[in-house]
Symmetry: C2
Subunit: 330 residues, 2 copies
DNA sequence: TTGTATGCGTTATCAG
DNA sequence: CTGATAACGCATACAA
């Protein structure tokens, strides 16, 4: 059993309140008593019970972070950003993985609420899928990251993926491609839809018709496998370039290309999304849309700390990073 | 302010204890009252305060996880394993990043202790670097992961990297290599030393002398950059194969090779350690030692739950995965 | 079957 | 300057 205030008080021959005041440098007392008490507390290895403090202060300096899976590199960078800001201001984060299960997501949020976290950050939210009454009673700060559906209902720190994808596809048009594929991830309903709309926007801007048969997706958990498995179908069409929902899909696809003897970028240009570390380490280095992952996490955490009275939607800019997986169509 | 037991009690016209019993299905009462109370509680959106419960039960169902950096893929898989087991048994994990700073590591452990976590899992521990008296008072379960120095003092779930590296280097000898380099990471003092000893063991087993000039390292944070930057020095020697401390170093090195026109594996065989996802997605697919990352995390968590009375050191087996970054020397 | 009292560990208020 | 007391929210032993 840990040493309590009471234990220290007994040993020091004073009351608990005096010990508390001595240790917190509050109240008035001779430096002598204060130091005496501090010494005894240190000797006994006293460490204040954070639970008791939290219960009293009705705040926990804890932030709940709901993610789909921590082993996704995009997400782990996000979490790193959150953790950094949290740690710098005396907060601690608790983690919960939803595994893409909306019900699990709600459960995790409720679990965090039960733990009386001071705020919740949710990545990949399905919050309004169910008009779930269970969430109504939750009156703590909630910030979503890269949410594409709950805008206006919840605070959101995000990138405008529709616009960013449009830019990326526009780039493909600008270097001469006319038949461009879209490879999505049917598991991420909302963000996938938005990115696809960006793909369509670009076609419209360029006066190009959309060919439904150039839009691909598989309901797979593994992004690498999604990219890898889809190549067959892509090659059945006349696309000369593809935009992929995320870098991992792009990488899976490019690996399948190598196995099939399809050269990237000579036979097929590939664009990803996210700019995970791996994108630049791969060969050919992947042309992709850089998402400021670290900064998304940091902003989300700051938003929790300075919680706005009105719902806000912070938009962060992305950057198209042109590397070697794309080339002009000659 | 969240609804409390008292609020529900008032509305239901009973005492707090009755509400508590009704909700916890303890005590004896008519199903009618019980349901009545449950209904009211639900209507009011009552969610028990976990802090108060924890304070009462003197346990928090919380596990502190100390890591160096969550964005390292090896570590994020570890955490995923921990989280899975934790979640399945009603535990929640809190995260703290040490950034390779031993002092920060200690601080994080103390922070977790202050939060009265039920256990602490530490990756990359420097626990006995300082004979730090601050840790003496901590009497909660601690399990280290892949610790190479505190064996016997703390519980440890690990792989035997010395033996595993020896096997990997033996493999290189077995396919004809005689001049084998070792590329380390001087920031990971203990594990680096152990892996290097495995490298030396293999030389001894094969009756080969150790050439100190074949042992390389840089004090860099980025593993990719370490691998990339070290190639020049490697090429100044006559090594035909290198073992790398981890996959990320191997990948950085192989990228530098491509830029220099050095073919892997034709001109240089490369072996990594960890078998992160990226190892199989890279080209050439990396020959590496598979560490059971997920399982390490799971075992660590289980060890916390069934805490042994005597210090234990659980060893998990690795597997050499031969892929295409190595080839026999002809 | 239900209510009262107590304790978990801390801090703040209020007397002394 | 310091000590007793209440309060944070809950669960349980005990009393009714």
């Amino acid at each position: 059993m840990p040493v309590t205030l009471k234990d220290v008080a007994q040993k020091a021959g004073v009351s608990r309140s005096t010990v508390s005041r001595a240790l917190n440098n509050t109240g008035r007392m001779t430096e002598e008593t204060r130091n005496h008490i501090k010494t005894i507390a240190a000797e006994m290895g006293y460490v204040p019970n954070f639970l008791a403090q939290s219960l009293h202060e009705t705040r926990t300096r804890t932030i709940g972070v709901v993610i789909t899976s921590i082993s996704n590199p995009f997400i782990s960078e996000l979490v790193e950003g959150i953790e950094e800001v949290a740690d710098n201001s005396g907060y601690t984060i608790i983690l919960g993985a939803s595994k893409f299960d909306p019900e699990k997501e709600i459960k995790t949020i409720l679990k965090f609420y039960q733990r009386r976290v001071d705020g919740i950050i949710v990545q990949a939210a399905h919050l309004t899928n169910f008009d779930d009454r269970r969430l109504e009673s939750i009156d703590i700060p909630i910030v979503l990251i890269n949410d594409e559906i709950n805008i206006g209902t919840y605070n959101n720190v995000s990138t405008d993926s529709r616009v960013e994808v449009k830019k990326a596809v526009n780039y493909l048009f600008s270097i001469g491609h006319r038949h461009i594929g879209y490879i999505g991830s049917s598991l991420r309903m909302h963000s996938n839809r938005n990115r696809r709309m960006g793909y369509e926007d670009a076609h419209e801007e360029n006066g190009q018709p959309i060919n439904e048969s150039h839009i691909f997706s598989l309901p797979m958990m593994s992004d690498y496998e999604t990219g890898r498995k889809i190549l067959d179908r892509v090659l059945d069409t006349n696309v000369t370039a593809v935009f992929c929902y995320c870098d991992m899909i792009a990488i899976g696809l490019m690996n399948a290309c190598r196995e099939r003897g399809v050269s990237v970028p000579d036979n097929l240009s590939v664009v990803g999304f996210d700019n995970i570390d791996q994108a630049s380490q791969f060969y050919p280095p992947l042309t992709t849309v850089h998402q400021p992952k670290f900064e998304l996490g940091r902003r989300a955490m700051r938003l929790i700390q300075h919680y706005p009275s009105e719902v806000v939607n912070e938009m962060l800019d992305c950057q198209l990073i042109v590397r070697e997986s794309t080339r002009p169509l000659t």
